[in-house]
């Protein structure tokens, strides 16, 4: 059941502005600062209740780092700057500056939930799915009957209660994915971050997972879908509301899905779509950038010189925004 018309001007559940993540490799010896991995640079986007934002890009472009940064799960050698304002009935706070304990006690699972990348390995192998689901229910919503709630969650994600009694290694890829979603929904979060939920699934399962996330969004959650499967977005219209394209740690383009997919504003998006089977399988020349030595300006400019002005300025027109401007006519 979708809730009325979605206006982009309603207050965003999560507003991420200027999110930058650096990983220090090795230890600083003497004066020489250690090499750094520019995992994400100046990433900004908003998640609105009821809408699904798809974050797309080649693998290794720093997408998964975002979920870790937002939930404070990055390893010790990471430094995160920028702001991520979470607002809602339970009060607003900045994810990047709150302490670890508040993140653990009030945010994770309760207000922001994660559907991890490889669902099977994110479950403890020696405990059944039911035990882990009921545990989350008992922890997040004390007082409810864990067994009943677990079964209803299972129903909601399309699992038979008996399937919950299996061990993680006895679950199929699809089933594990659905258990992960059930776990995410257990605490009725405001925001759901899904990190490559469709990786490794066959086509009907991918479509069904996207449908599931759609239902979650329609139930009022703000959903971030991280994927490299552009084809699926095209194949299942309406699965996502907005799209953001990421390359070498930077957002190159974002805007309503239909517009971006139909008329990509940035040359890279155009080439991405062209590389799809539906777009004629045109390979993108050059090599994906190494995140350790990125140029200051627009990394795409170095890989495809002459296709954009190399500037690092975000041009915003209406709901769409593009970084740097194409040399020929039309937005870069």
């Amino acid at each position: 059941m979708t809730t009325g018309t979605i206006t982009t001007t309603s207050l965003p559940a999560l507003a991420v502005t200027g999110l930058t993540v650096r990983f220090a490799l090795g230890r600083a010896r003497g004066r020489r600062i250690p090499p750094q991995v520019h995992a994400a640079t100046d990433v900004s986007f908003d998640l609105h209740p009821g809408r699904v934002l798809a974050l797309v890009g080649e693998s290794g472009c720093g997408k998964s780092v975002l979920t870790g940064a937002l939930l404070g799960l990055l390893p010790a050698n990471a430094t995160v700057t920028g702001a991520a304002g979470l607002s809602g009935p339970a009060g607003s706070l900045d994810l990047l500056t709150t302490g670890r304990t508040t993140l653990a006690r009030q945010v994770r699972g309760r207000r922001i939930a994660l559907v991890p990348q490889s669902a099977a390995t994110s479950l403890t192998p020696v405990r059944s799915a039911r035990a882990q689901l009921e545990e989350v229910v008992r922890e997040l919503c004390p007082g409810t009957d864990a067994r009943v709630r677990a079964d209803s969650l299972a129903e909601r994600v399309g699992l038979a209660p008996a399937d919950l009694d299996r061990f993680p290694h006895e679950l199929s890829g699809g089933m594990a994915q659905r258990v992960a979603v059930a776990l995410a929904l257990a605490g009725e979060p405001q925001v759901v971050l899904a990190d490559e939920p469709t990786a490794g699934l066959d086509r009907p399962l991918v479509d069904r997972t996207l449908g599931l996330l759609r239902e979650v969004a329609d139930a009022g959650c703000a959903v971030l879908l991280i994927t490299h499967d552009l084809g699926a977005l095209r194949r299942v219209p309406g699965a996502v509301d907005d799209v953001a394209v990421m390359y070498a740690g930077r957002l190159l383009e974002s805007g309503p899905a239909a517009d971006v997919l139909a008329a990509p504003g940035h040359d890279y998006t155009r080439e991405l779509l062209a590389a799809l089977p539906s777009g004629g399988l045109v390979p993108i020349p050059g090599q994906p950038p190494q995140l350790t030595d990125l140029p200051a300006g627009c990394a795409w400019h170095r890989r495809r010189p002459g296709r954009c002005d190399g500037g690092d300025v975000v041009h915003r027109t209406g709901a769409r925004s593009v970084r740097c401007r194409a040399l020929e006519a039309g937005p870069c």
């Binding site: 020696v126 405990r127 059944s128 035990a131």
Partner: protein
């Protein structure tokens, strides 16, 4: 499925309980709550089997048997008192026939009456080869034992034997138990003794033996109602538990006992003994058999240092097997002086020339021999090490060898041994005869520990036999003095020390203990508790 984490929580609780439980209850004292008429003693040795024919209580120390006579207290050579006999045995003037009148109205613990038949049965069983009794040799002088009547026994000896009364300390077992001849160690008496003694054996399990007072003992029921003897072999453990107040008394090596001298509530008691330690010098070995080496060793050894440093003063130097307590029989001049230089001079004169490593050599033979000792006895180990060190100082190398008891026997004629002596010290004859008489060098006569130095000196033999047969104390004393002078002239062994047996006693509500000359035996059957039957409760 929850992994046993909840179980680990439970385990943590039990571990915590255990530790708190222990922290609050300090070690209990021996007599908390138990009947105060009760004594708990710790012994270093397990009690030997209880069959008198097997040697139990040969010197009158048994708690469950009575001998015809028993020892009187006092510091010197103890007098004998009548026990099951009504008066001391009388001889027929030639010391060959001894008649002993017996006490009437005495009953064994199984209710049977005590009479002459029991005495005859006991001594006959000792002499009977079928019993294979290890103490048979000590009673070889008895030819026949007869019951003159219900209340009198006559001992017919093969030859006159003046000190015969000391042979009547042996505990008397009921004739009914000795009817079937057979090896002494297989008799039922070993584990279920039937005696007339002041105590009854009530429990014998694992590490503890419990005696209870015999209500109808002919000498009256002892005031000590219950005696518990716990077997704690390790000296250190015994000392720690004694210090912690777990026992009423125990026997300890002298140095460890001295550490408790100033502890409040504990007193250290020393009893004189004829128990001596010596190093046997096999005659067959070219080094230990050589008279010069033997005499040199006797002057090289510093006996006074051993007494003060190793025994902590609890003992006296021993030059011959005869302790000073034997009075006239002891010859004070038969002694050695600690004089390493004299020893070196004597060795040099005898042709033992020091080699480049300081060890003397003669005709290609190095002055070196092996000294065996029992590894588990720290006292013998320290004496052996001190002996080896003193010998080295004069150029004789002594290689120490820790040899367990089973392997000890075959090596006695070959290697020197750190031996103990003075098993029956109540007459010079039992102290010297088996140790020095040449008849004990022949195979099959006595055991390996008799005359280990293979002394074959006609003069010694003659003196020993004369002393044994004479009834005149002066003649006997003179003969024994001659034996000591011959011993000092060509010593078959290096006598080291006479031990003072040391005991630690917890102050209690008891009186009645008195010193006594103790034999080589060890353990709490002796010590202050040897006359437990006479103790009076003053609590």
């Amino acid at each position: 499925m929850h992994v046993p984490l909840r179980a680990t929580g439970g385990l943590v609780a039990t571990a915590a309980v255990l530790t708190t439980l222990s922290a609050c209850s300090a070690p209990g004292t021996a007599s908390d709550g138990a009947d105060t008429r009760r004594l708990v003693l710790a012994d270093a040795y397990e009690p030997e089997p209880f069959n008198p024919v097997g040697g139990h209580g040969e010197t009158g120390s048994s708690k469950v048997y009575d001998g015809l006579v028993r020892l009187g207290g006092g510091t010197g050579l103890p007098e004998l008192e009548p026990a099951l006999a009504t008066e001391l045995p009388r001889d027929d003037g030639t010391a060959t026939t001894w008649t002993v009148p017996l006490r009437d109205g005495v009953r064994f613990s199984d209710g049977s009456t005590f009479d002459a038949a029991d005495v005859v049965a006991t001594y006959s069983a000792v002499l009977d080869p079928a019993s294979a009794s290890p103490i048979a040799g000590n009673y070889a002088m008895i030819d026949r034992v007869e019951a003159v009547d219900e209340r009198t026994v006559a001992f017919r000896l093969a030859y006159p034997y003046a000190p015969f009364p000391t042979k009547l300390l042996l505990g008397i077992a009921p004739s009914e138990a000795l009817e079937t001849p057979g090896p002494a160690e297989e008799s039922a008496l070993n584990t279920a003794p039937i005696g007339t003694g002041p105590f009854l054996l009530s429990e014998r399990r694992g590490d503890r033996t419990v005696y209870t007072a015999n209500p109808d003992h002919w000498g009256g029921e002892p005031e000590v109602r219950e005696l518990v003897v716990v077997y704690v072999p390790d000296d250190n453990t015994r000392a720690q538990r004694m210090a912690a107040g777990e026992f009423d008394g125990t026997t300890l090596p002298p140095l460890i006992a001295d550490t408790m001298a100033d502890a409040e509530g504990l007193t250290v008691v020393g009893h004189p003994s004829a128990d001596h330690r010596s190093v046997s010098l096999p005659a067959g070995d070219p080094v230990t058999g050589d008279p010069a080496i033997r005499l040199a060793l006797n002057s090289a050894v510093d006996r006074e240092a051993m007494v003060t440093d190793i025994l902590g003063g609890h003992g006296t130097p021993s030059y011959t097997p005869v302790p000073a307590v034997f009075g006239d029989s002891h010859d004070p001049d038969a002694a050695f002086r600690h004089d390493p230089d004299a020893a070196r001079a004597r060795l040099g004169a005898a042709g033992w020339v020091p080699g480049d490593d300081g060890i003397r050599v003669r005709d290609g033979v190095r002055a070196e021999f092996t000294l065996m000792y029992f590894p588990e006895e720290t006292l013998r180990r320290d004496l052996a090490q001190a002996f080896a060190s003193d010998a080295l100082a004069v150029g004789i190398e002594v290689d120490l060898a820790a040899v367990a008891r089973p392997e000890f026997r075959p090596r006695i004629p070959v290697d020197a041994g750190l031996l103990g002596g003075g098993d029956v010290p109540y007459d010079p004859d039992t102290q010297l005869y088996a140790a020095l008489h040449s008849s004990y060098t022949r195979p099959g006569v006595g055991g390996p520990f008799d005359n280990p130095g293979d002394l074959a000196d006609p003069a010694v033999d003659a003196a020993l036999d004369a002393a044994r047969r004479s009834t005149d104390p002066a003649t006997r004393a003179a003969a024994y003095r001659t034996v000591q002078q011959r011993f000092v002239a060509n010593p078959p062994a290096v006598q080291l020390v006479f031990l003072e047996h040391v005991y630690v006693l917890a102050d209690g509500d008891w009186a009645g203990t008195e010193p006594v000359l103790e034999p080589h035996a060890h353990g709490v059957s002796w010590g202050p508790w040897w006359n437990l039957r006479d103790w009076r409760y003053t609590g």
